[in-house]
Protein backbone atom coordinates (compact mmCIF):
# COMPACT_ATOMS: atom_id res chain seq x y z
CA UNK A 1 0.00 0.00 0.00
CA UNK A 2 1.40 3.37 -0.97
CA UNK A 3 1.81 6.06 1.64
CA UNK A 4 -0.96 8.11 0.08
CA UNK A 5 -3.43 5.22 0.15
CA UNK A 6 -2.42 4.49 3.70
CA UNK A 7 -3.15 8.06 4.77
CA UNK A 8 -6.54 8.02 3.06
CA UNK A 9 -7.28 4.68 4.69
CA UNK A 10 -6.51 5.97 8.17
CA UNK A 11 -8.46 9.13 7.47
CA UNK A 12 -11.58 7.21 6.42
CA UNK A 13 -11.33 4.89 9.42
CA UNK A 14 -10.85 7.92 11.66
CA UNK A 15 -13.86 9.77 10.25
CA UNK A 16 -16.02 6.69 10.77
CA UNK A 17 -15.05 6.25 14.41
CA UNK A 18 -15.04 10.01 14.85
CA UNK A 19 -18.65 10.23 13.68
CA UNK A 20 -19.64 8.03 16.59
CA UNK A 21 -17.65 10.17 19.02
CA UNK A 22 -19.29 13.22 17.47
CA UNK A 23 -22.79 11.86 18.08
CA UNK A 24 -21.98 11.00 21.70
CA UNK A 25 -20.35 14.42 22.16
CA UNK A 26 -23.53 16.03 20.78
CA UNK A 27 -25.43 14.12 23.43
CA UNK A 28 -23.14 15.60 26.09
CA UNK A 29 -23.48 19.13 24.70
CA UNK A 30 -27.29 18.98 24.46
CA UNK A 31 -27.69 18.08 28.13
CA UNK A 32 -24.88 20.37 29.25
CA UNK A 33 -26.22 23.44 27.46
CA UNK A 34 -29.70 23.18 28.89
CA UNK A 35 -28.90 21.95 32.41
CA UNK A 36 -25.18 22.56 33.05
CA UNK A 37 -24.84 18.85 33.86
CA UNK A 38 -22.14 16.64 32.34
CA UNK A 39 -23.92 13.34 32.02
CA UNK A 40 -21.44 10.53 32.55
CA UNK A 41 -24.13 7.95 31.83
CA UNK A 42 -24.04 9.12 28.20
CA UNK A 43 -22.13 6.10 26.85
CA UNK A 44 -24.59 3.73 28.51
CA UNK A 45 -27.27 5.04 26.17
CA UNK A 46 -25.21 3.76 23.24
CA UNK A 47 -24.93 0.33 24.90
CA UNK A 48 -28.66 0.21 25.64
CA UNK A 49 -29.60 1.32 22.14
CA UNK A 50 -27.46 -1.41 20.62
CA UNK A 51 -28.49 -4.17 23.06
CA UNK A 52 -32.21 -3.44 22.78
CA UNK A 53 -32.02 -3.36 18.98
CA UNK A 54 -30.12 -6.68 18.97
CA UNK A 55 -32.63 -8.27 21.34
CA UNK A 56 -35.52 -7.20 19.12
CA UNK A 57 -33.72 -8.40 15.99
CA UNK A 58 -32.47 -11.88 16.89
CA UNK A 59 -33.26 -14.72 19.28
CA UNK A 60 -31.73 -13.75 22.61
CA UNK A 61 -31.27 -15.36 25.98
CA UNK A 62 -31.57 -12.76 28.73
CA UNK A 63 -31.04 -13.05 32.51
CA UNK A 64 -28.43 -15.82 32.11
CA UNK A 65 -30.69 -17.79 29.81
CA UNK A 66 -33.75 -17.67 32.08
CA UNK A 67 -35.66 -15.46 29.72
CA UNK A 68 -35.81 -16.42 26.06
CA UNK A 69 -36.80 -13.65 23.69
CA UNK A 70 -37.56 -14.47 20.08
CA UNK A 71 -38.99 -11.34 18.50
CA UNK A 72 -36.93 -11.48 15.30
CA UNK A 73 -38.22 -8.17 14.01
CA UNK A 74 -36.84 -6.68 10.80
CA UNK A 75 -33.73 -4.55 11.34
CA UNK A 76 -35.34 -1.09 10.87
CA UNK A 77 -38.09 -1.91 13.40
CA UNK A 78 -35.55 -3.33 15.83
CA UNK A 79 -33.38 -0.21 15.48
CA UNK A 80 -36.40 2.04 16.04
CA UNK A 81 -37.38 0.14 19.17
CA UNK A 82 -33.80 0.45 20.43
CA UNK A 83 -33.91 4.22 20.02
CA UNK A 84 -37.39 4.63 21.51
CA UNK A 85 -36.75 2.53 24.62
CA UNK A 86 -33.35 4.14 25.21
CA UNK A 87 -35.01 7.56 24.95
CA UNK A 88 -37.46 6.47 27.63
CA UNK A 89 -34.52 5.31 29.75
CA UNK A 90 -32.96 8.77 29.34
CA UNK A 91 -36.21 10.47 30.34
CA UNK A 92 -36.55 8.15 33.34
CA UNK A 93 -32.97 8.92 34.36
CA UNK A 94 -33.89 12.59 34.49
CA UNK A 95 -37.24 12.09 36.25
CA UNK A 96 -36.00 9.59 38.84
CA UNK A 97 -32.44 10.69 39.54
CA UNK A 98 -31.82 14.26 38.41
CA UNK A 99 -35.10 16.13 38.87
CA UNK A 100 -35.59 15.10 42.53
CA UNK A 101 -32.11 16.57 43.19
CA UNK A 102 -32.70 19.80 41.25
CA UNK A 103 -31.91 21.96 44.27
CA UNK A 104 -28.52 20.28 44.65
CA UNK A 105 -25.35 21.74 43.16
CA UNK A 106 -24.34 20.96 39.58
CA UNK A 107 -21.40 18.94 40.91
CA UNK A 108 -23.75 16.72 42.95
CA UNK A 109 -25.86 16.14 39.85
CA UNK A 110 -22.78 15.17 37.84
CA UNK A 111 -21.91 12.64 40.55
CA UNK A 112 -25.49 11.34 40.38
CA UNK A 113 -24.95 10.64 36.67
CA UNK A 114 -21.79 8.67 37.51
CA UNK A 115 -23.85 6.62 39.95
CA UNK A 116 -26.56 6.19 37.33
CA UNK A 117 -23.94 4.92 34.88
CA UNK A 118 -22.95 2.19 37.36
CA UNK A 119 -26.59 1.21 37.89
CA UNK A 120 -27.23 1.05 34.14
CA UNK A 121 -24.08 -0.99 33.57
CA UNK A 122 -25.10 -3.38 36.36
CA UNK A 123 -28.58 -3.76 34.90
CA UNK A 124 -27.08 -4.43 31.46
CA UNK A 125 -24.82 -7.10 32.99
CA UNK A 126 -27.80 -8.79 34.66
CA UNK A 127 -29.94 -8.70 31.53
CA UNK A 128 -27.47 -9.42 28.75
CA UNK A 129 -24.51 -11.01 30.58
CA UNK A 130 -20.88 -10.58 29.59
CA UNK A 131 -21.21 -11.93 26.03
CA UNK A 132 -20.29 -9.66 23.15
CA UNK A 133 -23.16 -8.95 20.74
CA UNK A 134 -23.27 -7.84 17.17
CA UNK A 135 -25.80 -6.90 14.49
CA UNK A 136 -25.38 -7.86 10.83
CA UNK A 137 -24.24 -5.07 8.51
CA UNK A 138 -27.19 -2.97 7.35
CA UNK A 139 -26.56 -3.51 3.63
CA UNK A 140 -24.27 -6.42 2.77
CA UNK A 141 -22.01 -6.12 -0.23
CA UNK A 142 -18.45 -5.44 -1.29
CA UNK A 143 -16.72 -2.40 0.24
CA UNK A 144 -16.23 0.80 -1.73
CA UNK A 145 -12.81 1.81 -3.01
CA UNK A 146 -11.75 5.45 -2.70
CA UNK A 147 -8.30 6.29 -4.11
CA UNK A 148 -7.24 2.74 -3.36
CA UNK A 149 -8.44 2.91 0.23
CA UNK A 150 -11.27 0.70 1.46
CA UNK A 151 -14.49 2.04 2.94
CA UNK A 152 -16.94 -0.58 4.21
CA UNK A 153 -20.61 -0.14 3.49
CA UNK A 154 -21.28 0.06 7.21
CA UNK A 155 -18.83 2.99 7.45
CA UNK A 156 -20.87 4.74 4.78
CA UNK A 157 -23.95 4.12 6.92
CA UNK A 158 -22.23 5.53 10.00
CA UNK A 159 -21.09 8.69 8.22
CA UNK A 160 -24.41 9.18 6.42
CA UNK A 161 -26.51 8.69 9.56
CA UNK A 162 -24.29 11.17 11.42
CA UNK A 163 -24.65 13.71 8.62
CA UNK A 164 -28.43 13.33 8.46
CA UNK A 165 -28.75 13.61 12.24
CA UNK A 166 -26.67 16.78 12.19
CA UNK A 167 -28.94 18.35 9.60
CA UNK A 168 -32.06 17.36 11.55
CA UNK A 169 -30.65 18.67 14.83
CA UNK A 170 -29.53 21.91 13.17
CA UNK A 171 -33.00 22.40 11.74
CA UNK A 172 -34.65 21.54 15.06
CA UNK A 173 -32.55 23.92 17.16
CA UNK A 174 -32.62 26.85 14.74
CA UNK A 175 -35.94 26.62 12.94
CA UNK A 176 -38.52 25.30 15.41
CA UNK A 177 -40.03 27.08 18.40
CA UNK A 178 -39.15 24.19 20.72
CA UNK A 179 -35.56 24.22 19.50
CA UNK A 180 -35.27 27.95 20.05
CA UNK A 181 -36.80 27.49 23.49
CA UNK A 182 -34.05 24.99 24.33
CA UNK A 183 -31.46 27.47 23.06
CA UNK A 184 -33.01 30.19 25.18
CA UNK A 185 -32.76 27.92 28.23
CA UNK A 186 -29.10 27.31 27.46
CA UNK A 187 -28.50 31.02 26.91
CA UNK A 188 -30.23 32.44 29.97
CA UNK A 189 -32.30 30.05 32.08
CA UNK A 190 -33.68 32.76 34.37
CA UNK A 191 -34.90 34.90 31.50
CA UNK A 192 -36.35 31.79 29.85
CA UNK A 193 -38.34 31.12 32.99
CA UNK A 194 -39.67 34.68 32.89
CA UNK A 195 -40.98 33.93 29.37
CA UNK A 196 -43.03 31.10 30.86
CA UNK A 197 -40.64 28.36 29.77
CA UNK A 198 -40.33 25.55 32.32
CA UNK A 199 -36.64 24.70 32.82
CA UNK A 200 -37.56 21.24 34.06
CA UNK A 201 -39.59 20.41 30.99
CA UNK A 202 -36.73 21.61 28.81
CA UNK A 203 -34.21 19.54 30.79
CA UNK A 204 -36.43 16.50 30.29
CA UNK A 205 -36.53 17.20 26.57
CA UNK A 206 -32.74 17.61 26.49
CA UNK A 207 -32.26 14.22 28.17
CA UNK A 208 -34.70 12.67 25.68
CA UNK A 209 -32.97 14.12 22.60
CA UNK A 210 -29.53 13.34 23.96
CA UNK A 211 -30.30 9.70 24.75
CA UNK A 212 -31.97 9.22 21.35
CA UNK A 213 -28.95 10.58 19.46
CA UNK A 214 -26.53 8.45 21.48
CA UNK A 215 -28.69 5.34 21.07
CA UNK A 216 -28.54 5.83 17.29
CA UNK A 217 -24.74 6.04 17.56
CA UNK A 218 -24.69 2.73 19.45
CA UNK A 219 -26.89 1.02 16.88
CA UNK A 220 -24.96 2.14 13.78
CA UNK A 221 -21.59 1.00 15.13
CA UNK A 222 -22.67 -2.38 16.41
CA UNK A 223 -22.38 -4.11 13.02
CA UNK A 224 -18.71 -3.11 12.81
CA UNK A 225 -17.68 -3.70 16.41
CA UNK A 226 -18.81 -6.00 19.19
CA UNK A 227 -20.87 -4.45 21.97
CA UNK A 228 -20.39 -5.58 25.54
CA UNK A 229 -22.18 -4.41 28.69
CA UNK A 230 -19.13 -2.39 29.83
CA UNK A 231 -18.42 -0.42 26.65
CA UNK A 232 -20.38 2.56 28.00
CA UNK A 233 -17.53 3.93 30.08
CA UNK A 234 -15.08 4.10 27.17
CA UNK A 235 -17.71 5.61 24.89
CA UNK A 236 -18.61 8.19 27.54
CA UNK A 237 -15.00 9.19 27.97
CA UNK A 238 -14.35 9.47 24.23
CA UNK A 239 -17.52 11.53 23.74
CA UNK A 240 -16.58 13.68 26.71
CA UNK A 241 -13.09 14.37 25.35
CA UNK A 242 -14.61 15.26 21.96
CA UNK A 243 -17.12 17.59 23.63
CA UNK A 244 -14.39 19.26 25.71
CA UNK A 245 -12.18 19.73 22.64
CA UNK A 246 -15.14 21.39 20.95
CA UNK A 247 -15.69 23.77 23.83
CA UNK A 248 -18.44 21.77 25.60
CA UNK A 249 -21.25 24.19 24.78
CA UNK A 250 -20.93 24.32 21.01
CA UNK A 251 -22.69 21.60 18.93
CA UNK A 252 -20.57 22.31 15.84
CA UNK A 253 -17.47 22.15 18.02
CA UNK A 254 -18.58 18.78 19.39
CA UNK A 255 -18.82 17.37 15.87
CA UNK A 256 -15.42 18.73 14.88
CA UNK A 257 -13.97 17.53 18.17
CA UNK A 258 -15.37 14.04 17.65
CA UNK A 259 -14.10 13.70 14.11
CA UNK A 260 -10.64 15.07 14.88
CA UNK A 261 -10.36 12.75 17.86
CA UNK A 262 -11.33 9.78 15.68
CA UNK A 263 -8.81 10.75 13.00
CA UNK A 264 -6.05 11.30 15.55
CA UNK A 265 -6.74 7.93 17.15
CA UNK A 266 -6.73 6.24 13.79
CA UNK A 267 -3.37 7.70 12.80
CA UNK A 268 -1.94 7.01 16.24
CA UNK A 269 -3.07 3.42 16.10
CA UNK A 270 -1.73 3.06 12.57
CA UNK A 271 1.68 4.66 12.91
CA UNK A 272 2.50 4.11 16.60
CA UNK A 273 0.66 1.16 18.02
CA UNK A 274 -2.99 0.25 18.37
CA UNK A 275 -2.23 -0.16 22.06
CA UNK A 276 -2.02 3.63 22.33
CA UNK A 277 -5.49 4.19 20.87
CA UNK A 278 -7.20 5.01 24.14
CA UNK A 279 -4.20 6.82 25.57
CA UNK A 280 -4.39 9.29 22.70
CA UNK A 281 -7.81 10.59 23.82
CA UNK A 282 -6.50 11.29 27.26
CA UNK A 283 -3.35 12.98 26.02
CA UNK A 284 -5.63 15.18 23.90
CA UNK A 285 -7.85 15.90 26.90
CA UNK A 286 -4.82 16.75 29.00
CA UNK A 287 -3.38 19.10 26.41
CA UNK A 288 -6.69 20.86 25.81
CA UNK A 289 -7.32 21.35 29.49
CA UNK A 290 -3.77 22.54 30.12
CA UNK A 291 -3.54 24.88 27.12
CA UNK A 292 -7.02 26.18 26.92
CA UNK A 293 -9.47 25.31 29.65
CA UNK A 294 -12.43 26.44 27.60
CA UNK A 295 -11.77 24.19 24.61
CA UNK A 296 -11.17 25.66 21.19
CA UNK A 297 -14.65 26.61 20.08
CA UNK A 298 -16.38 27.75 23.19
CA UNK A 299 -19.33 30.08 23.06
CA UNK A 300 -19.08 32.99 25.39
CA UNK A 301 -21.42 33.55 28.29
CA UNK A 302 -22.46 29.94 28.14
CA UNK A 303 -23.68 27.41 30.63
CA UNK A 304 -20.03 26.57 31.28
CA UNK A 305 -19.40 29.76 33.07
CA UNK A 306 -22.51 29.20 35.16
CA UNK A 307 -21.34 25.77 36.20
CA UNK A 308 -17.87 27.13 36.88
CA UNK A 309 -16.26 24.80 34.38
Amino acid sequence: MSLQTEIIQFLLAGITVGSIYALIALGFVTIYNVTGIINFAQGEFAVYGAFIAITAFQKSRLLSGNWQVALEWPLPAAALVGVVITTLVGILLYRLAIQPARRASILSMIIITIGAAFVMRGAALLLWGTDPYRLPVFTPGPPLKIFGAILTRQSVWVIAVTAVLLVILYWFFNRTLTGKTLQACADNPKAAQLMGISPQRMALLAFGISSAVTAIAGIVIVPSTFMTYDRGLTLSLKGFVAAIVGGLSNPAGAVLGGISLGVLESFGAGYLSSGYKDAISFIVLFIVLAVRLGGFLRRRGSAGERAGL
Partner: protein, 246 residues
Protein backbone atom coordinates in the same frame (compact mmCIF):
# COMPACT_ATOMS: atom_id res chain seq x y z
CA UNK B 1 -56.03 44.98 39.60
CA UNK B 2 -52.94 43.75 41.39
CA UNK B 3 -53.18 43.51 45.18
CA UNK B 4 -50.34 42.69 47.49
CA UNK B 5 -51.39 41.94 51.03
CA UNK B 6 -48.96 41.78 53.91
CA UNK B 7 -46.29 39.92 51.91
CA UNK B 8 -43.05 38.80 53.55
CA UNK B 9 -40.16 37.18 51.70
CA UNK B 10 -36.85 35.97 53.02
CA UNK B 11 -33.58 34.58 51.71
CA UNK B 12 -32.69 31.95 54.26
CA UNK B 13 -32.88 33.78 57.57
CA UNK B 14 -32.60 37.24 56.06
CA UNK B 15 -35.95 38.97 55.70
CA UNK B 16 -36.02 40.99 52.50
CA UNK B 17 -39.68 42.02 52.60
CA UNK B 18 -41.59 42.55 55.83
CA UNK B 19 -45.35 42.79 55.51
CA UNK B 20 -45.57 44.76 52.28
CA UNK B 21 -49.05 45.79 51.13
CA UNK B 22 -49.85 47.73 47.99
CA UNK B 23 -52.18 47.87 45.01
CA UNK B 24 -52.03 48.93 41.37
CA UNK B 25 -54.62 49.40 38.63
CA UNK B 26 -54.56 48.99 34.85
CA UNK B 27 -53.36 52.08 33.01
CA UNK B 28 -51.32 53.43 35.87
CA UNK B 29 -47.60 53.46 36.42
CA UNK B 30 -46.53 52.77 39.97
CA UNK B 31 -42.94 53.47 40.96
CA UNK B 32 -41.11 51.69 43.75
CA UNK B 33 -38.19 53.70 44.99
CA UNK B 34 -35.67 53.02 47.69
CA UNK B 35 -32.00 52.55 48.39
CA UNK B 36 -29.91 49.55 47.36
CA UNK B 37 -31.03 46.48 49.26
CA UNK B 38 -34.35 48.00 50.30
CA UNK B 39 -36.20 45.07 48.71
CA UNK B 40 -37.42 46.59 45.44
CA UNK B 41 -36.15 43.81 43.18
CA UNK B 42 -37.23 41.20 45.71
CA UNK B 43 -40.77 42.58 45.55
CA UNK B 44 -40.84 42.19 41.75
CA UNK B 45 -39.33 38.70 41.98
CA UNK B 46 -41.93 37.77 44.59
CA UNK B 47 -44.74 38.89 42.30
CA UNK B 48 -43.30 36.96 39.34
CA UNK B 49 -42.77 33.86 41.50
CA UNK B 50 -38.99 33.75 41.09
CA UNK B 51 -38.56 34.32 44.83
CA UNK B 52 -41.78 32.97 46.38
CA UNK B 53 -43.38 34.81 49.30
CA UNK B 54 -43.05 33.25 52.72
CA UNK B 55 -46.36 34.69 53.90
CA UNK B 56 -49.08 37.03 52.72
CA UNK B 57 -51.13 37.08 49.53
CA UNK B 58 -50.76 38.36 45.98
CA UNK B 59 -53.95 38.65 43.95
CA UNK B 60 -54.32 39.43 40.27
CA UNK B 61 -57.89 40.45 39.44
CA UNK B 62 -59.02 38.61 42.55
CA UNK B 63 -57.16 35.37 41.73
CA UNK B 64 -54.46 34.33 44.15
CA UNK B 65 -51.06 33.85 42.47
CA UNK B 66 -48.91 33.83 45.60
CA UNK B 67 -47.46 30.35 45.45
CA UNK B 68 -47.74 29.51 41.77
CA UNK B 69 -44.63 28.59 39.76
CA UNK B 70 -43.06 31.40 37.68
CA UNK B 71 -44.29 29.69 34.48
CA UNK B 72 -47.92 29.65 35.68
CA UNK B 73 -47.68 33.28 36.72
CA UNK B 74 -46.41 34.24 33.25
CA UNK B 75 -49.33 32.30 31.75
CA UNK B 76 -51.66 34.59 33.72
CA UNK B 77 -50.09 37.65 32.10
CA UNK B 78 -47.42 38.84 34.52
CA UNK B 79 -44.30 39.73 32.51
CA UNK B 80 -41.05 40.87 34.06
CA UNK B 81 -38.31 42.85 32.36
CA UNK B 82 -35.45 41.69 34.55
CA UNK B 83 -32.62 43.75 35.92
CA UNK B 84 -29.71 44.11 33.46
CA UNK B 85 -32.07 43.27 30.59
CA UNK B 86 -31.19 39.57 30.29
CA UNK B 87 -31.86 39.28 26.58
CA UNK B 88 -31.01 35.96 24.92
CA UNK B 89 -27.59 37.08 23.71
CA UNK B 90 -26.97 34.16 21.34
CA UNK B 91 -30.35 34.45 19.61
CA UNK B 92 -31.44 36.98 17.01
CA UNK B 93 -33.55 40.02 17.87
CA UNK B 94 -36.53 38.47 16.12
CA UNK B 95 -36.13 35.17 17.98
CA UNK B 96 -35.99 37.07 21.26
CA UNK B 97 -39.31 38.73 20.44
CA UNK B 98 -40.79 35.41 19.34
CA UNK B 99 -39.85 33.79 22.64
CA UNK B 100 -41.54 36.69 24.44
CA UNK B 101 -44.80 35.35 23.01
CA UNK B 102 -43.97 31.77 24.09
CA UNK B 103 -46.98 31.28 26.38
CA UNK B 104 -49.32 32.68 23.75
CA UNK B 105 -47.89 30.46 21.03
CA UNK B 106 -48.34 27.45 23.27
CA UNK B 107 -51.97 28.47 23.80
CA UNK B 108 -51.52 29.09 27.51
CA UNK B 109 -51.41 32.88 27.45
CA UNK B 110 -54.06 35.32 26.23
CA UNK B 111 -54.73 36.05 23.42
CA UNK B 112 -53.31 32.88 21.83
CA UNK B 113 -51.20 33.06 18.67
CA UNK B 114 -52.36 30.38 16.27
CA UNK B 115 -50.50 31.18 13.07
CA UNK B 116 -47.36 32.80 11.70
CA UNK B 117 -49.30 35.80 10.49
CA UNK B 118 -50.54 36.82 13.94
CA UNK B 119 -47.01 36.44 15.29
CA UNK B 120 -45.65 38.51 12.42
CA UNK B 121 -48.19 41.29 13.03
CA UNK B 122 -47.38 41.36 16.75
CA UNK B 123 -43.66 41.59 16.03
CA UNK B 124 -44.36 44.42 13.55
CA UNK B 125 -46.26 46.26 16.31
CA UNK B 126 -43.16 46.07 18.49
CA UNK B 127 -41.00 47.25 15.55
CA UNK B 128 -43.35 50.22 15.13
CA UNK B 129 -42.65 51.15 18.77
CA UNK B 130 -38.91 50.51 18.48
CA UNK B 131 -37.89 51.07 14.83
CA UNK B 132 -34.22 50.40 15.65
CA UNK B 133 -35.09 46.78 16.50
CA UNK B 134 -36.40 46.24 12.97
CA UNK B 135 -33.07 47.37 11.55
CA UNK B 136 -31.32 44.93 13.90
CA UNK B 137 -33.84 42.14 13.31
CA UNK B 138 -31.36 39.45 12.26
CA UNK B 139 -28.51 40.50 14.54
CA UNK B 140 -27.69 38.51 17.66
CA UNK B 141 -29.13 40.29 20.69
CA UNK B 142 -25.72 40.20 22.38
CA UNK B 143 -24.33 42.56 19.73
CA UNK B 144 -26.84 45.35 20.51
CA UNK B 145 -25.96 48.42 22.55
CA UNK B 146 -27.24 48.66 26.13
CA UNK B 147 -30.12 50.94 25.18
CA UNK B 148 -31.15 48.71 22.27
CA UNK B 149 -31.02 45.66 24.54
CA UNK B 150 -33.28 47.45 27.00
CA UNK B 151 -35.76 48.20 24.20
CA UNK B 152 -35.57 44.56 23.15
CA UNK B 153 -36.17 43.40 26.72
CA UNK B 154 -39.23 45.65 26.98
CA UNK B 155 -40.45 44.61 23.52
CA UNK B 156 -39.98 40.95 24.39
CA UNK B 157 -42.17 41.37 27.49
CA UNK B 158 -44.83 43.24 25.54
CA UNK B 159 -45.03 40.27 23.14
CA UNK B 160 -46.58 38.39 26.06
CA UNK B 161 -49.43 40.97 26.16
CA UNK B 162 -48.90 41.57 29.87
CA UNK B 163 -51.69 42.40 32.28
CA UNK B 164 -48.93 43.32 34.69
CA UNK B 165 -45.58 44.61 33.48
CA UNK B 166 -42.73 44.55 35.99
CA UNK B 167 -39.83 46.80 35.00
CA UNK B 168 -36.66 46.29 37.02
CA UNK B 169 -34.13 49.14 36.80
CA UNK B 170 -34.65 49.89 33.10
CA UNK B 171 -32.20 52.81 33.21
CA UNK B 172 -29.37 50.87 34.85
CA UNK B 173 -26.02 51.38 33.17
CA UNK B 174 -27.36 53.51 30.31
CA UNK B 175 -26.12 56.89 29.12
CA UNK B 176 -28.28 59.86 30.23
CA UNK B 177 -29.64 60.52 26.73
CA UNK B 178 -30.71 56.89 26.36
CA UNK B 179 -32.25 56.98 29.83
CA UNK B 180 -34.46 59.82 28.65
CA UNK B 181 -35.59 57.75 25.65
CA UNK B 182 -36.36 54.76 27.83
CA UNK B 183 -38.49 56.83 30.19
CA UNK B 184 -40.33 58.32 27.24
CA UNK B 185 -41.13 54.79 26.11
CA UNK B 186 -42.34 53.87 29.59
CA UNK B 187 -44.57 56.93 29.56
CA UNK B 188 -46.11 55.73 26.28
CA UNK B 189 -46.79 52.27 27.76
CA UNK B 190 -49.55 53.86 29.83
CA UNK B 191 -51.73 53.67 26.71
CA UNK B 192 -51.72 49.86 26.55
CA UNK B 193 -53.85 49.81 29.71
CA UNK B 194 -51.56 47.58 31.69
CA UNK B 195 -50.54 47.62 35.33
CA UNK B 196 -46.95 48.84 35.33
CA UNK B 197 -44.67 48.50 38.33
CA UNK B 198 -41.42 50.37 37.89
CA UNK B 199 -38.43 49.79 40.15
CA UNK B 200 -35.78 52.48 39.88
CA UNK B 201 -32.65 53.81 41.53
CA UNK B 202 -33.17 56.94 39.46
CA UNK B 203 -35.92 58.20 41.78
CA UNK B 204 -36.29 61.57 40.12
CA UNK B 205 -37.08 60.14 36.68
CA UNK B 206 -39.19 57.37 38.18
CA UNK B 207 -41.42 59.78 40.09
CA UNK B 208 -41.72 62.05 37.07
CA UNK B 209 -43.13 59.28 34.88
CA UNK B 210 -45.26 57.56 37.54
CA UNK B 211 -48.80 58.23 38.71
CA UNK B 212 -48.18 56.92 42.19
CA UNK B 213 -45.19 55.81 44.16
CA UNK B 214 -44.17 53.68 47.12
CA UNK B 215 -40.98 54.15 49.10
CA UNK B 216 -39.32 51.01 50.42
CA UNK B 217 -36.86 50.99 53.28
CA UNK B 218 -35.31 47.77 54.66
CA UNK B 219 -38.18 45.67 53.36
CA UNK B 220 -41.01 47.91 54.55
CA UNK B 221 -43.14 50.47 52.77
CA UNK B 222 -42.48 53.69 54.64
CA UNK B 223 -44.36 56.11 52.42
CA UNK B 224 -46.95 56.01 49.65
CA UNK B 225 -48.88 58.50 47.59
CA UNK B 226 -49.26 60.34 44.29
CA UNK B 227 -45.88 60.61 42.59
CA UNK B 228 -45.97 64.41 42.52
CA UNK B 229 -46.56 64.57 46.29
CA UNK B 230 -43.66 62.18 46.94
CA UNK B 231 -41.38 64.19 44.70
CA UNK B 232 -42.29 67.32 46.67
CA UNK B 233 -41.75 65.73 50.06
CA UNK B 234 -38.69 67.22 51.82
CA UNK B 235 -37.66 63.91 53.42
CA UNK B 236 -37.70 62.15 50.04
CA UNK B 237 -35.94 65.01 48.35
CA UNK B 238 -33.17 64.74 50.87
CA UNK B 239 -32.88 60.96 50.87
CA UNK B 240 -33.48 60.05 47.23
CA UNK B 241 -33.43 63.15 45.05
CA UNK B 242 -30.11 64.51 46.21
CA UNK B 243 -31.48 67.87 47.34
CA UNK B 244 -30.34 69.43 50.60
CA UNK B 245 -33.12 69.66 53.17
CA UNK B 246 -33.97 73.05 54.58
Amino acid sequence: MLEIKNVSTSYGHVEALRGVSMAAHPGEIVSLIGANGAGKTTLLNTISGMTPARSGQILLNGVEITRLSPEKIVNLGVCQVPERRQVFATLSVRDNLTLGAYTRMRGRGEPPIKDRKTLHLDIETIYAMFPILKQREKQLAGTLSGGEQQMLAIGRSLMGRPKVLLLDEPSLGLAPLIVRDIFEIINCLREIDTIILLVEQNARAALRVADRGYVLETGRIVMAGPAADLAADPAIQQAYLGKQGR
